[in-house]
Symmetry: C2
Subunit: 273 residues, 2 copies
Amino acid sequence: MRKIAFQGESGAFSEEAALKLLGSVELLPCVSFDSMFEAVKSGECDGCIAPIENSLAGSVHANYDLLLQHDFYIIGEIFLRIVHNLIALPGVSFEQVRKVYSHPVALAQCRKFCREFRHLEQVSEYDTAGSVKMLRDQGLRDGAAIASIRAATVYGASVLRTEIEDNKENYTRFLLLSRDAKPQPSANKTSIVFSTRNEPGMLFRCLAAFALRDIDLTKLESRPLHGKPWEYFFYVDFIGNVEDPNCKNALRHLEEMTTFLRILGSYPSAETR
Amino acid sequence: MRKIAFQGESGAFSEEAALKLLGSVELLPCVSFDSMFEAVKSGECDGCIAPIENSLAGSVHANYDLLLQHDFYIIGEIFLRIVHNLIALPGVSFEQVRKVYSHPVALAQCRKFCREFRHLEQVSEYDTAGSVKMLRDQGLRDGAAIASIRAATVYGASVLRTEIEDNKENYTRFLLLSRDAKPQPSANKTSIVFSTRNEPGMLFRCLAAFALRDIDLTKLESRPLHGKPWEYFFYVDFIGNVEDPNCKNALRHLEEMTTFLRILGSYPSAETR
């Protein structure tokens, strides 16, 4: 991979995930998930790194929907522990801070900290690292941002408090997407999406294709099927390489019951890296 | 029900849903879902009306999580068709409008309209009806809001364009929650939430409790189990009264496989009203 798009400013958790997964690689910051997918579609980037689920906040539905709208391939995944830090400009002390800037999800994940220091006004921003950048660009000395250590380094800011998140079991799963399919001989995890006829027991019968073959599902997510209220696309992750005979049989069995089935990718699971 | 809390300003879709479901009832507008649940917990209101899913945008996860955090009962549901309108102060013509204010989900659901009139600047607000209120309170004559017809009526504003949403199959499902359990003899739908041991095939075996008894599931939603990354609470809606022997057997069977099981409510389904 030559160049990878990510959502957020330099110093974002997504950027950290890309570097951890790929080592050194050229990176393109994007303002939104939409523009990140567009950067891959247009050929400006070869792939992108998409947060798909956080262990506390849940699935990132915008990216599930974008996966379906684009013909990209999942070629890898990585889990990143999310550690939130209070970051200010160099020389600013904790006592000087009056406002705390960050993404609403990050603010919500530091609720205990914000309750302890009630005099701090919380201000929602579009991005965690972007909040640190804003402190620097505007020279704000009465504010601090909640972001990663990496964001502090990138913008030459100081870390006033570390690990201020409520729950330490805070991980985000990122998918590495590529415009071109790549052979993945070490793949041991597969992601698919399907829809079924709307009949009683259909989901149960679809899951039977896996359960009857002892294939372990790691995730099941449903998203609305637009134009058919209360019908769904089901996104399933399972353990196995799409080329394994057992998995091939399961997918052939599943196909008998689906009105739509797409393999999103087969890739090495993060646990085995 | 004496007094019902809803999220949003007067004129919100939630308020419309409450009136459609309950006829005339006293209503309390709340700034957030959290404060809406608090108004019921504190006894200020007897119940609240919570949007739980939109047929295009998907589940309202904040409310799924709040359902679990509070011991309230689902005693009813209603579907409301969401029609978006362009609304301005009286006497303002379409040609005068330069900015369009609304909730980000409403703006996203009127993408074709916004693309057709590219000169209109989109501005995100916290609420649809609240955007109309803002036009009135600030006397803005170069702006318009995207909101319900009801919001136009409530704030004495004019409808410039109607049905500007991209997709007409736009419905929101609302749940009516009560602090006190109420006998629901006409109940024919039940909502539950459960978690299981993290073993291969567990979800399949849980769904078997229903499939083996021909009980139709209408919704399956998963939410993170905090503190146990990549384990889930499963929310299931099924057709049937919780007191039916068949449903009782299914729940007893399900209980054998769950580490947690709670019945959120058994109520008359919206389809049969």
